[in-house]
């Protein structure tokens, strides 16, 4: 029944925009809560009848981010891969983690958007049936050097928790123009829990308010505060984290002896990369 319903909706509602969800973050380690965000976002967007979510991308941050307790990217990427093995649509991308410097989120989004367009372009090249659409895509692609969002082209949206949205307000963590670009040209899917009030935060920022139509707030009605921080703490104390992470990730953590009191001290005296970068910029005027 569900399949038939989805089929009809796709056929009779050909104007659904294709969406790819991109989640940036430490994933230190990836947890069931992270994975849930994707599921919730997809359900929410598809429920509006306007979108069809075709792919999810997990992009773990590079080691150069210098967050306290951040373990090697190679482990974090591998755990995310293990975690998404059973998913038909969520994937892991290691581009960001392989860069030698920390990469601003807006840059990561741009990179993935360009890849997305390129794939669409190539796909339509071999699809002889969609000849007219191919012409349109080509024209759009040529004009896309300034990455506009095409009306019927695929969209890339940043998937995040309410804490990320609210971090827009932390001085020197984000560049103002990056925020504008992310919400203005791409879009945000923000998962929130009871007790949070993203609408208030959006309302208090002129920038966010202007692009509020591009900010999709998804309510998680069931509170689940289990965070990667909580998981690391449990592991340090030799406690079980089963059923908080996918089974394969629990095994990986055990096999590699990840997350100890030592690993939590990594970068303890180091300044977070964005702060370093933006305060350098402001001091050098």
């Amino acid at each position: 029944n569900l399949l038939a319903w989805a089929f009809w909706r796709l056929i009779y509602n050909p104007t659904t925009s294709k969406v790819v969800l991109l989640a940036c973050g430490s994933f230190n380690p990836i947890t069931n809560v992270h994975l849930r965000m994707f599921e919730l976002a997809r359900d929410h967007l598809e429920d509006t009848g306007q979108y069809s979510v075709i792919k999810g991308i997990i992009s773990p941050v590079g080691d150069a981010y210098k967050k306290k307790g951040l373990i090697e990217a190679s482990h974090r990427v591998e755990m995310a891969r293990l975690a998404t093995e059973s998913s038909e649509w969520i994937t892991v991308d290691s581009w960001e983690s392989q860069q030698s410097d920390w990469v601003e989120t807006a840059k990561v989004i741009r990179h993935h958007y360009e890849e997305l367009l390129a794939r669409e372009h190539n796909r339509d090249n071999v699809d002889t049936v969609k000849y007219t659409k191919k012409r349109r895509i080509e024209e759009n692609y040529i004009a896309s050097s300034v990455h506009h969002r095409k009306r019927d082209g695929p969209q890339l949206m940043l998937l995040c928790g309410a804490d990320v949205l609210e971090s827009f307000g932390i001085p020197n963590l984000w560049k103002q123009e990056d925020i504008t670009e992310i919400v203005g040209q791409y879009g945000l899917v923000c998962i929130t829990r009871c007790g949070g009030d993203p609408y208030k935060f959006i309302n208090q920022s002129d920038d966010l308010w202007k692009y509020r139509k591009n900010i999709h707030v998804v309510h998680e009605w069931v509170t689940n505060d289990i965070s990667a921080t909580h998981v690391r703490r449990a592991l340090r104390r030799g406690r079980s984290v089963r059923y908080l992470l996918p089974e394969s990730v629990v095994r990986y953590v055990q096999e590699h002896g990840l997350y100890s009191a030592d690993s939590e001290q990594k970068n303890a005296d180091v300044v977070l990369a964005p702060f370093q970068k933006y305060s350098d910029a402001s001091t050098s005027g």
Binding site: L2, N32, L35, L40, T223, S227, S240, R242, Y243
Partner: protein, 265 residues
């Protein structure tokens, strides 16, 4: 004298409608906690789904709930599913289920120890202490003692005195309050072990069923194998949620003409 850890088996009774990652978390949290007291070694866990006779709204047939629990626990090397309670013709009081499992543990212990008990069932065997059985539950379970007609006074007494409770809560201080507000629980507070998971996690089977009815994803909340089973058997629809609608819970009927537990003792 060397510290002697008492072997401990944890028994969880409930609807398991369906079993969720949260249910399985209870066992993990309880085991870690009881180990950390230094007094116990958790040697087993038992999931005992309630029988259909319980009459709770939305309860799907026991055979499905048992199958799902078995699938979910395939990867566990210490927690198993037991069908005895679900096979009884009528709803079984929790304490009766505990007595049954205690008897089973006793039998196994006797067989492996190769001894016979004296008439009072006492063992003098400091080298292999008799395994204990405690009831594992969530904070809502503890609060249910307050519901009129749901529990018999004698049963609550036997539960905490003879067996003991391991109560896992997530975030709130409800269980401490429940112990404080009940003289019975307070009297036997040393046999009531409160385990805290310090972050809130309110994922429940009720929410899972709601999401399933609305064709929303429950991936990462319950094991993939259980999701697949639910899909194959088309469980958890609006119809299934209406089962037993308007029917009183069996305990309330069965215990109606018996002295009711009043928690304001």
């Amino acid at each position: 004298m060397a510290s002697c850890r008492a072997p401990l088996v944890l028994l969880a009774c409930g609807s398991f409608n369906p079993i969720t990652n949260q249910h399985m978390r209870l066992f993990e949290l309880a085991r870690d906690h009881m180990h950390s007291t230094g007094r116990f070694e958790v040697v087993g866990g038992i999931v005992s789904p309630v029988s259909d006779g319980y009459g709770k709204q939305g309860l799907v047939p026991a055979k499905h709930r048992i199958s799902m629990a078995k699938l979910a626990l395939q990867s566990s090397n210490w927690v198993t599913v037991d069908e005895w309670e679900s096979q009884q013709p009528d709803w079984t009081e929790t304490v009766v289920t505990m007595r049954y499992h205690h008897g089973q543990i006793l039998k196994e212990y006797e067989q492996s120890a190769g001894r016979h008990s004296d008439t009072s069932g006492n063992f003098a065997s400091p080298s292999s202490p008799f395994p204990q059985l405690k009831l594992l539950c969530g904070a809502d379970f503890l609060s249910s003692f307050k519901t009129p007609g749901l529990w018999l006074e004698d049963h609550v007494e036997e539960l905490v005195q003879r067996f003991g409770l391991v109560c896992v809560s997530r975030g709130s201080l409800q269980p401490e309050r429940a112990v404080h507000e009940s003289d019975t629980l307070f009297r036997h507070r040393r046999n009531v072990f409160l385990v805290r998971e310090w972050v809130r996690n309110e994922t429940s089977a009720t929410e899972i069923r709601r999401a399933l009815r609305r064709h929303l994803s429950v991936k990462y909340l319950i094991p993939d194998s259980v999701i697949e089973y639910i899909r194959q058997h088309e469980l958890y629809t609006e119809d299934s949620e209406r089962r037993n609608e308007g029917t009183a819970l069996r305990p309330l009927i069965k215990q109606a003409h018996q002295p009711i537990k009043s928690l304001d003792d």
